[in-house]
C-alpha cells in the first residue's frame, strides 16, 4: 500500500511533458482539460450518510477510451450514534469510456481516517461518580478498492460532466487491534474544467 501511495505521489508531481504522454485529440469532446472537480454522496453501508469532495486528474491517456487517473479526496460520513469519520487521501485508477459515453473504472486508494464517537462519553471517577469525558478520536488508515460504472455526458451532449456509481470496500485499521472491513456506495459527479 505504501508503494501505491508513493507511485501516486510521483505521478501527480511529474509534469505531463516529462512523462511524454499523448493526449487524444481526435474527438473534440474528449480533448478537454484533464483536470476535474468531483462531488460525491458517500454512504458507508449505503445508508450512513456522508459527502466527499475532490479533484480528478488524468495522468495518461492511451488512445481515446482509456485513461490512468489520480484523485485527491476529502470526505466525511456519520454512523448515527456510533461514530463520525473524516478522511483525506488519494486514489489511483484506470477508466475506460465507450464512444457513446458508458464509462467503467477501477481505483485503489489510501487515506487517513479519523473517527470520533458520535454520542456522549462518560467515565467514572475514583469517587464513583460518572463524568462527561472528551473524545479526541482515533487515528486510522483507510486503504480502499472501488469499482465504478456510469456515464460521461460529454461524449454525447458536450456537457463536461460524468456521473458514476461507485461501490467501494475499505479497511479501517487498527480497530481493536484488527483491520475492520467496510462497504460503501458513492454517487459521484465529476465536472471537467
Amino acid at each position: 500500500m505504501r508503494g501505491s501511495a508513493l507511485l501516486l505521489a510521483i505521478m501527480v508531481a511529474t509534469p505531463s511533458w516529462a512523462r511524454g504522454e499523448e493526449i487524444a485529440t481526435a474527438n473534440p469532446a474528449v480533448d478537454r482539460s484533464r483536470l476535474g472537480v468531483m462531488a460525491s454522496y458517500f454512504g458507508e453501508t449505503g445508508t450512513h450518510p456522508g459527502l466527499a469532495f475532490g479533484v480528478d486528474y488524468g495522468l495518461l491517456r492511451i488512445g481515446e477510451p482509456h485513461e490512468l487517473f489520480a484523485r485527491g479526496q476529502l470526505g466525511s460520513y456519520l454512523h448515527p450514534r456510533l461514530y463520525w469519520g473524516a478522511f483525506a487521501g488519494g486514489e489511483l485508477g484506470w477508466r475506460s469510456t465507450a464512444s457513446f459515453g458508458l464509462r467503467g473504472e477501477l481505483a485503489l486508494g489510501f487515506a487517513y481516517l479519523h473517527t470520533l464517537l458520535a454520542s456522549p462519553v462518560y467515565e467514572v471517577g475514583s469517587d464513583g461518580r460518572a463524568r462527561a469525558s472528551t473524545d479526541f478520536g482515533r487515528p486510522n488508515v483507510m486503504p480502499s478498492i472501488s469499482f465504478g460504472a456510469g456515464w460521461d455526458l460529454g461524449r454525447r451532449t458536450g456537457v463536461p460532466l460524468a456521473v458514476m456509481l461507485r461501490p467501494m470496500v475499505f479497511w479501517q485499521l487498527p480497530v481493536n487491534h484488527a483491520a475492520l472491513l467496510h462497504a460503501a456506495g458513492l454517487l459521484s459527479f465529476t465536472y471537467s474544467l
Binding site: G46, R81, L82, Y83, S119, G128, A130, R138, H182
Partner: protein, 344 residues
Amino acid sequence: MRAFALSLAVALLSACGPSSKLDDTFYVRSRGADMPVWVRGDLSTSNVMLVLISGGPGGPGIFFADSPGFVRLSKKYGVAFWDQRLSGSSTGTAGVETLTLDQYAEDLDAVVQVLKQRHGDPKIVLLGWSWGGMVGTAYLSSAARQQGIAGWIDLDGVHSSPSAMSLARAWAMARARERVAQGQDVEKWNAELAWYDAHSPLSMADMVRHGQNVAALGGSIRHPEKDPGIGSAWMNFSGPFNGMLTMSNQATVLAEAMKEGSAMNQAMLTDQTGALPSLTLPSLLLWGEYDGQVPLAHGQEAFQKLGTPADRKSLVVMPDAAHGSLLDQPDGFAAAVEGFADGL
C-alpha cells in the same frame, strides 16, 4: 400541507424502527474501552431499568434491542443494551489482557453508575444471559455493588464454567445416544460419542466442536426460524450497531477464550459457585427446558445455592426453549420478566 408533510415524515421514520419513549445512546469509557450503551423503553410507570449483560463471551448487547422479547419489555421498562469491552460495537485501545472478570465487573459498575445519573436513579435489574451470568455473579458478589441493584435475572447463565461444561458434555452425549438409538445419523453420532470419550473433561479448545454438536442436537435454539441471525435490516443500516465490527470483535474474544492461559481463558474457567450464597437480592432464574449449552441442572444448582430467601427467588423452566428463551419463546420470556420486575 406542512402538517401533512410532517405527519408523513414521522410515519415513515416510525416505520423504519421500533418506537420507544426512551431513546438514549452514550458511551462508557473504562480502562481503554469505549463501550456503547443504548437505552430504550419507558421508565415513566415502572421506574425499572433492565440491563442486559449479554453472552458469548464477546457477544453483542445492542444487537438484541429489536428482538421481539425486548421490544415487548421496552413498552413497560427501560432496557439498557450494553456492548461489553471488545464486543459488539465497542472500540478503544483496550487489549485482550483486560478481558478479566474483575474488569468486566468494573465496566458493568460504570454502566450502572452512568445509567443512574443519566436516568434519575431508576431501580436497576441486571439480566445476565449465558456468559452474562458470570459477569453478573462477579459483579453482585460485592456487597456494596449488590446494594445498588434491585433484582437479578439469570437467563441460562453460567456461574461456574467447569461445572457448566461438564453438564453440557453429559447432555450432548445423552442426546447423541438417543439419536443413535433412533437410527438417526448413526455414523456421525457414534463418531462424536467417541470424540467425547477422548475429551474428558472438555477444554476451552474443544468448545467449537462441542458447540456445533449442541446446536445440531437442538440445545442452542429450538426454533431456528426465530434466530435474528445478523439482525434486522433496520438494525444494520440505521441503528447504533456495526455488524462487521461485532463479528470481528466476537472472533477476537472467542479466540482468546480458547487460548490456554489467556486472561479470557482464565475468566471463562472461573468457578464462582462459592460466591452464590452472598447473593441475597430478589432473583429470577429463567431456564430453557432443552438448554444444552448450560443445562437446567446448572440453574437448579444456582437456585439452591443463592443466598436469597426462598420467598424472593424463583426458578422458571421455559418449555420448548433451549439456551435463551429470549429467542425461542419471546412472549414467555417477557411475561416471566414482567412478573418478576412488577413485584420489585
